[in-house]
C-alpha cells in the first residue's frame, strides 16, 4: 500500500511535527520511529513511552445477551469478570483458528473490546454474523487510543489523572486528563507497567501534548513497539497468530479459563480440548539465536536433513539483551526449553536454543506485589 492510500489518524500532524517517520500500517499512516528504534526502546524500559495506537478497533458490545454471545466465541470466563476488569482473549473460529486477539473489559452494562487495527472490520463482520441479534456492536471510530508504557508511566500519568496509581494490572476506570474524559486501564503491550488511554479523537492531540510535556515521557514509534513486545514474548496477530494457529499451539492456554475448559460451549472447543489433553503437534516457542545476525519472520526451522519442520513468525535484535531473539512454531518434540534447533534464512543456517518467554521479565503492577 502506498502512502497515498493510507488513511490519517487524529494525531497525524502531531507526529509529523515531532519528526516522526510515517509509514503505512494497517491501512493508516503511522509513526515508525522518531529519534531511533533502539533509543526509543530503551527509553520505554527506563522511563515512559507514549504510543499512538488509534488504528486499533474500539468496540462496545452491549445488550442482555452480550456476555453469553461473547462467551460463544471467546474462551474467557466473562461471567466472573468484575466491573472495570479486563482480560486478554481470543476470537475463535469453529476449527479453533484464531480470528483475532483482543482485550475485553466489563464496563457497567456492556463490554469494551479492543481489537487489532488490520482485522477490526473483519472482526466486526464476524461478531455481527455470530452474536445474537439482540447484541449491539458499536465501533467507536471517533475514539483515539494512546498507550503510556514504562516504569515511570505511573508518575507521569498520576500527575494529570490523580487516582490512576491505585489501578492494579488489568483494571480500568473513568478519569479526566486536562478536563477531557478518558477511559484508562493499567495494561499494555510492552511487558512494562503502564496504561492504555481511550479519549475522543477530537481531543487526543491535547491529551498527547499534556502527556508528552511530562519529563518522563517521549513519543515512541511502532518500530520500538514491535521490539518491546517481542522481548516481552507477546504475540503479534497476523504474524505469530492467525486463522491457521490454535490457542494451544500458540502457547496461550492461560487465556482458556478453567470453567470454559471443562464446559466448552465456545467455537473451537473440541479441537482445543483434544490439544489440551494430547498436546499440540507444534508449539510457539521463544528462541535465542547464536551470533549477532537477526533471524526474521519467514525464516524456516529445519531438521538435520534440511527439511522445513517449522517457521519463524517474529524475529529481531533485542536492544536489551543485545542479541537476536525470535518466536517460532516448532514440532512439539523440539519445544522444550533447552532444545537446540536449526534455522535457515536466505540460504544460511543459524543455531538457536529454545528459551523461556518473556525474554525480558515482565514488570506489571500486580496488586499485592511489592
Amino acid at each position: 500500500m502506498s502512502d497515498a492510500e493510507a488513511k490519517s489518524l487524529p494525531l497525524d500532524a502531531w507526529h509529523r511535527a515531532r519528526g516522526a517517520r510515517m509509514v503505512p500500517f494497517a491501512g493508516y499512516a503511522m509513526p515508525i520511529q522518531y529519534e531511533g528504534i533502539i533509543a526509543e526502546h530503551k527509553w520505554t524500559r527506563e522511563s515512559a513511552g507514549l504510543f499512538d495506537v488509534s488504528h486499533m478497533g474500539q468496540l462496545i458490545v452491549a445488550g442482555p445477551e452480550a456476555q453469553k454471545g461473547l462467551e460463544s466465541l471467546l474462551p474467557a470466563d466473562l461471567a466472573i469478570l468484575k466491573d472495570g476488569r479486563l482480560r486478554y482473549s481470543l476470537l475463535l473460529a469453529e476449527d479453533a483458528g484464531i480470528v483475532d486477539d483482543l482485550m475485553a473489559t466489563r464496563r457497567g452494562d456492556h463490554f469494551y473490546v479492543v481489537v487489532n487495527g488490520a482485522t477490526k472490520e473483519g472482526d466486526i463482520d464476524y461478531l455481527r454474523a455470530r452474536l445474537p441479534r439482540s447484541v449491539v456492536i458499536d465501533h467507536m471510530k471517533e475514539q483515539a487510543l494512546l498507550a503510556l508504557q514504562g516504569p515511570k508511566a505511573v508518575d507521569a500519568l498520576a500527575r494529570l489523572a490523580p487516582g490512576v496509581e491505585a489501578l492494579g494490572f488489568m483494571t480500568g476506570g473513568a478519569f479526566q486528563i486536562g478536563g477531557i474524559a478518558a477511559w484508562i486501564s493499567r495494561s499494555g503491550y510492552t511487558g512494562e507497567d503502564g496504561f492504555e488511554i481511550s479519549v475522543p479523537g477530537a481531543k487526543v492531540a491535547e491529551v498527547a501534548e499534556l502527556l508528552a510535556a511530562q519529563p518522563e515521557v517521549k513519543p515512541i514509534g511502532l518500530g520500538a513497539r514491535d521490539s518491546l513486545r517481542l522481548e516481552a514474548g507477546l504475540p503479534l496477530y497476523g504474524h505469530d497468530l492467525d486463522t491457521e494457529t490454535t490457542p494451544v499451539e500458540a502457547d496461550l492456554t492461560f487465556a482458556i479459563s478453567k470453567r470454559r475448559r471443562g464446559e466448552g460451549g465456545f467455537a473451537g472447543w473440541h479441537r482445543i480440548a483434544r490439544e489440551l489433553e494430547e498436546g499440540p503437534i507444534r508449539r510457539r516457542v521463544g528462541l535465542a539465536v547464536e551470533g549477532r545476525q537477526p533471524v526474521r519472520e519467514g525464516a524456516m526451522v529445519v531438521d538435520a536433513e534440511g527439511n522445513e519442520v517449522g517457521k519463524v513468525t517474529s524475529g529481531g535484535f533485542s536492544p536489551i539483551l543485545e542479541a537476536p531473539i525470535a518466536m517460532a512454531y516448532v514440532p512439539a518434540a523440539s519445544a522444550d526449553v533447552g532444545t537446540s534447533v536449526t534455522l535457515a534464512q536466505r540460504g544460511k543456517l543459524f543455531q538457536a536454543k529454545v528459551v523461556p518467554m518473556p525474554f525480558v521479565p515482565h514488570r506489571y503492577h500486580r496488586k499485592g506485589a511489592a
Partner: protein, 123 residues
C-alpha cells in the same frame, strides 16, 4: 582521490585502482539502527551491481551492492565488531570494505556528490 555515489546509496572513494566502499549517510538514516553487518572476505571477486555485503537494522535486512567490479582486499573488522559505526560515521570509520578495481571505466556510470544530493532530494 574522488568519491562517487550509486542509486543504491553506496559511496566509493577511489585512489588509483584502490577503492573504499560504504553506505551513505542518507542510507543509514533510512535503515535506522544498524545491529549487524556481513562483510565479504579478502580475495572475494565482486561484480558491479552484485551483492557484496549485508546490513541489518532493527527493522530489516538490506543488501549492499558492489558499485564496481573488483577484488575485495579488506573488510572493515571494526565495523563487524561495532555495527553502530555505520550510523555514527557512515562515510568515515563505518566503511564496509576495500576493493581493487578491475575496470576503472565502470566509475563513469556513477554519480558525483552534487548529482547524488539531487538524487536523494528527489527520493
Amino acid at each position: 582521490m574522488t568519491v562517487y555515489y550509486t542509486k543504491e546509496h553506496e559511496w566509493i572513494r577511489v585512489e588509483g585502482d584502490e577503492a573504499t566502499v560504504g553506505i551513505t549517510d542518507f542510507a543509514q538514516g533510512q535503515l535506522g539502527d544498524v545491529v549487524f553487518v556481513e562483510l565479504p572476505e579478502a580475495g572475494r571477486q565482486v561484480s558491479r551491481g552484485g551483492e557484496a555485503a549485508v546490513v541489518e537494522s532493527v527493522k530489516a535486512a538490506s543488501d549492499v551492492y558492489a558499485p564496481v567490479s573488483g577484488e575485495v582486499t579488506e573488510p572493515n573488522q571494526a565495523l563487524a565488531d561495532d555495527p553502530a559505526l555505520a550510523n555514527s560515521d557512515p562515510e568515515g570509520g563505518g566503511w564496509f570494505f576495500k576493493l581493487r578495481l578491475s575496470d576503472t571505466s565502470e566509475l563513469d556510470g556513477l554519480m558525483d556528490a552534487e548529482a547524488y544530493k539531487s538524487f536523494c532530494d528527489s527520493q
